[in-house]
Amino acid sequence: MGERRGRFEAEVLVHLDAAYRFARWLGRSEPDAEDVVQEAMLRAWRAFEDLREPDAKAWLLAIVRNCAASLHRREQRRGHVPLPEEHGPDGAAMVAPSGDPEGAVTELEQQRVLRRLLAELPEDQREVLVLREIEELNYREIAAVIGAPIGTVMSRLSRARGALKRLGSPDSKGEPLVVR
């Protein structure tokens, strides 16, 4: 293994899981997300010399976003693109949980509701939320990934969080958590 390959694996390939998760939440089905990630890794490999940041994560996720966008353009004719919430662990269709008289919302139900809410967010809000909460990027990094000013990042983040705020709150138990 060459020296360049070793550095690439240590700096970029370590973010493979993040790249995959981000591709999934950009609205890619599992196989599509895998194609996107492979393409993104190849582009990252070819552009590795251009990497200036000490942390490659945001850089890689920006490439993933570009790859997903070009796949999306190629695909638009094909129509429907399933989101991760439609591929639950048991493959069941997504439904809002019905009101439980005792008010117990199971972990699994909550997870499904969460996925659904997230999937139903406008994409520009969803990506910002995922980058912040799941991938733990800071505002500056998120702004770089999506190519928008920090103020835009903040307002999208705020709106996305507003849409999810009832989730997990004690008074939401037993109510159907459907998006308004």
């Binding site: 293994m1 492979q38 190849l42």
Partner: protein, 258 residues
Amino acid sequence: MSCAESLRVQAYFDGELKSGEAGDVEEHLTQCVPCQGLLEELERTRTTLRRSLAGERASPALRARVMRALDAEESPPARARRPRAWHVRPFWIGALSGASGLAVAAAGAFLLFTAVSSNAVLEAVTDAHVRSLSSRHLIDVVSSDRHTVKPWFAGRTDVSPPVADFAAQGYRLLGGRTENLGHERAAVLVYQHGAHLINVFSWSARTPLPAQAVRSGYHMVLWKSGDIESCAVSDAGWDELNALVGLIKGVSANDTPH
């Protein structure tokens, strides 16, 4: 969440404020009930999101695929040339055996084509061997137990080679994997012998191949058992490689056919 400070509270929560500004927000929070509620909400949403979604990971298959794509990228000629040569082989062999009347007239051509195609096979095997050493795709099923490895091959490869561990003789079975060699799905057993790794490839025999060869400095010992062609590849010496092949042949001889 109607307070004009809500975006600053959010920035405070995200750790984006400098200490002076953070102090201002903390002071505001002691007086503003809606902002206190907002802060709690932000925390709850984050906890739920991270607990349920941050654990999702890329599959081992995707990881292997990316590694192989990077390998191919590192050595572009191997990708462009060799699989194509392999792909051509069955066509020539089929054409020649079907036209047996022409075989004598085509003897010269036959030798040439055989040389080309066997060379393609040897190169494909060597490529796969080198890839397995340079990437992490050395072993798909880790086991020294033949009862684990042999069934694992079923359905994944075109052949079912004998599987045995020879740790007592100095050849430890590490596990197995599959390799696509052109259109063939080869079964590969991985042995360790001292500092050497030995890959033993098996696939359906079609092309006449030499008993031994050297490619890119690697020793290759080849043999046929029934309709299975096998090839042991390593940087180990000839004697060491032949000893392993002898052991494997001993097992094949005792294996009841099925």
